[in-house]
């Protein structure tokens, strides 16, 4: 089969460079490589969390006239490749961006495994790799090995720990009992979370009354929810992925699984979740969460206007803030001197949409890890090193 690649230069650039009068000091656009799944199992998530951020960011920079660099202002041209949710394709695409397209900068790919797979290539060509959609417990090991690799989305155990702490607090306050039903999708992230979670539940004093896994992509979850309900739990935790996050909630609603705390991991923070379940989504807990600010609301509006995508309440704002950080580091350096940019990223704290970003240790020092649907927003209710968390509400049925 032929290699299918999607190459899309932004139309803005084509328009500008075809004009006969190129203003003085307007250098050729900077080529920014973007790799991610446009097709395959991870495409649904990337269509929301990955690709739109780059589009908005490039548009805003180009509207301002470009990046202010030493040789004058340079606009941005995005070069996008589809990795078809295959690590091999992802590696090829990064390699191609580095050697054939000679990209000035390459954005980290989408999803944990893909970032780990591409890390040696980024390292080989000295591109900094600021991995956003990558959650792993191997951060320390990896950042030691690759000096240009940064993580801004936290570790697997941070997500498990904070979610379980939210439940522990409710239990200690006497708001819920100690019986918890835990299910997980049989895929890397789900298995890692489940394994990290089991001992944590025990130490937190929980009795795991139901514990099972189901294959990736399962949408017929009636047996799972029925069995969970039969175990009569006080809290329900699903280390889940889309589309099963949707399937579990629908079945919980039908089955009347009226736990006081209901948590599902990935995609709970998607606007599609709220759109599907409406009022029934109220007080559902999940991975992610945001702090409500006017700037944040404006970001979602801008994203919608520029890309027609409703951003999620987990990755999108972090992604955009990461881009703001990268942009400032590039402007500080004044050129696409890659090792200098890596050094600059580690040199200071950056002001961004979500707050101050500090990646001196190649890891973001804080982040929201647990959110809850309260009204129209998926508010952050717990995290690592965060302040201003909303109080957790108990779920009162699926009305």
């Amino acid at each position: 089969m032929d290699r299918r690649t999607f190459v899309k230069g932004t139309a803005v650039i084509a328009g500008v460079s075809s004009l006969p009068r190129v203003s003085f000091g307007q250098a050729a656009p900077a080529k920014i490589g973007v790799v991610g799944p446009k097709t395959g199992p991870l495409a649904g998530g990337a269509a929301v969390t990955h690709f739109p951020n780059f589009k908005l960011w490039a548009k805003e920079i180009n509207d301002r006239g470009g990046l202010k660099l030493k040789g004058g202002q340079r606009k941005i041209e995005l070069i996008e490749y589809d990795d078809r949710t295959q690590p091999g394709e992802c590696i090829k695409a990064v390699e191609r961006l580095a050697t054939v397209d000679k990209a000035d900068f390459i954005m980290a790919p989408y999803a944990t495994g893909f970032n780990l797979a591409a890390a040696p290539i980024f390292d080989k060509y000295k591109y900094p790799q600021v991995a956003q959609a990558a959650v792993t417990d191997k951060m320390d090991e990896l950042t030691k090995k690759y000096s240009g690799l940064f993580f801004v989305q936290g570790s697997t155990s941070a997500y498990a720990t904070t979610a379980i702490n939210v439940l522990k607090k409710l239990k200690d306050e006497g708001k819920i009992g100690n019986k918890v039903a835990v299910v997980n999708v049989a895929d890397t992230f789900g298995i890692e979370l489940a394994n990290a979670g089991r001992p944590l539940f025990k130490t937190a004093g929980f009795d795991i009354v139901y514990d099972t896994s189901y294959p990736l992509g399962t949408q017929d979850l009636a047996p799972v929810i029925k069995a969970a309900k039969a175990a009569n739990p006080d809290a329900f935790v699903a280390w889940s992925y889309p589309p099963d996050t949707f399937g579990l909630a629908e079945q919980a609603k039908i089955e009347g699984l009226n736990v006081k705390a209901y948590y599902s991991a990935v995609a709970t923070a998607f606007p599609a979740f709220k759109a599907k379940f409406g009022a029934a989504a109220e007080n559902v807990l999940g991975a992610g969460g945001v702090k409500d600010t006017p700037e944040l609301r404006k970001f979602y509006k801008d994203l919608k206007d520029a890309t027609n995508v409703d951003g999620d309440y987990w990755g999108n704002p972090v992604y955009y803030s990461m881009l703001q950080m990268i942009e400032q580091a590039i402007v500080d350096v004044g050129s696409f001197d890659l090792p200098a940019i890596t050094k600059q990223l580690k040199a200071k704290t950056y002001k961004t949409l979500i707050g101050d970003m500090d990646v001196r240790t190649q890891k973001l020092t804080w982040l929201w890890t647990v959110g809850q649907w309260q009204g129209d927003l998926f508010h952050g209710v717990a995290g690592v090193g965060v302040s201003g968390a909303k109080p957790v509400q108990l779920k009162t049925g699926w009305a």
Binding site: T39, V48, T212, S213, T218, V224, A227, G256
Partner: protein, 294 residues
């Protein structure tokens, strides 16, 4: 859980799941069993119909069943055109069924990418899902999703309708004749090309109807089609390629088996159970449950 309740759960959830699988598989059965085209773009038609229904439902708030009025004829016309324009040249030049299988698998694999591209362009790559009849319906004191029951009834109606049409009408008879032996059917003045196009288009229409019904409770994205194609492929081969009855019964066997394993053993083993069953049937009856030995 009481043993009696477990049996009831397995039966009802299994039957509902079997109905779901029948919706995925019947269209491919017509396309492969009669038109002899192993259509790997079948799942994309299902996803396209689900997206169309999503769009219709969120825009109008009218029952997804109403959208069938538009989606089914549209899918019929589209699949007819695909067959006449893209598939027929392959059929005409193929010297034997083996060559046609290879050609049509390659061609429809390519077509599936075109469909995915169009879906991505029109609907975007996001997960699409809506809520319809997501209410409990109580049978013997247990809750079941009303949307799944509605889809099951739709599925049953299509199964029975197709079966009766194939076995009680003259047009159905010509389809069965082509399914059994295209060259012999040609000898008794059946227009094999026309009947094959009809079967292919009908298969596409049934798949699209399946997509509409499934969209009431499944979440879709543009890349999900291949999963449905694979499931349908397993079922069609399990059932025996030449008989719609085989696909229907295989769907229910698979639905009941997966549910029994999920309830009695472990939900994590449903996929394994499905493939063990598939292997067992292939070993014991390589021609499928209702296939003829050749």
């Amino acid at each position: 859980m009481q043993p009696g309740a477990a049996v009831m759960d397995i039966l009802i959830i299994g039957l509902l799941l079997g109905g779901t699988y029948a919706l995925m598989a019947m269209g491919l059965q017509l396309q492969y069993g009669v038109a002899r085209i192993m259509n790997l773009a079948n799942g994309e038609i299902l996803v396209a119909a689900a997206f169309g229904t999503f769009w219709f439902f969120t825009a109008t708030k009218v029952s997804p069943f109403v959208s069938l009025i538009g989606i089914v004829p549209l899918a019929f016309a589209l699949n007819w055109a695909v067959y006449r324009v893209l598939i027929l040249p392959l059929v005409r030049r193929a010297k034997n069924q083996g060559q046609l299988d290879v050609d049509s698998i390659l061609a429809t694999f390519g077509i599936s990418f075109i469909f995915i591209g169009i879906l991505l362009h029109v609907f975007g790559g996001d997960y699409l899902s809506y809520s319809y009849l997501a209410r409990p319906y109580v049978i013997f004191g247990e809750n079941y999703g009303l949307n799944r029951i509605a889809a099951f009834l739709g599925s049953a109606a299509i199964c029975i309708g197709l079966y009766v049409w194939l076995h009680r009408t003259r047009a159905g008879l010509t389809l069965r004749a082509v399914a059994v032996n295209p060259s012999a059917a040609g000898l008794v003045s059946i227009d094999v090309e026309r009947v094959s196009a009809l079967a292919f288009a009908l298969g596409g229409a049934v798949t699209a109807a399946g997509g509409t019904l499934l969209s009431m409770f499944l979440t879709f994205d543009a890349s999900l089609g291949v999963l449905f194609t694979l499931k349908a492929l397993v079922i069609v081969i399990m059932g025996g390629v030449s008989e719609i009855r085989g696909a229907i019964i295989a769907s229910f066997i698979l639905g009941l088996a997966e549910t029994a394993v999920a309830i009695l053993v472990d939900p994590g083993l449903t996929l394994a159970a499905a493939y063990v069953l598939f292997l067992a049937i292939l070993l014991l009856r390589p021609e499928g449950l209702f296939g003829r030995r050749v």
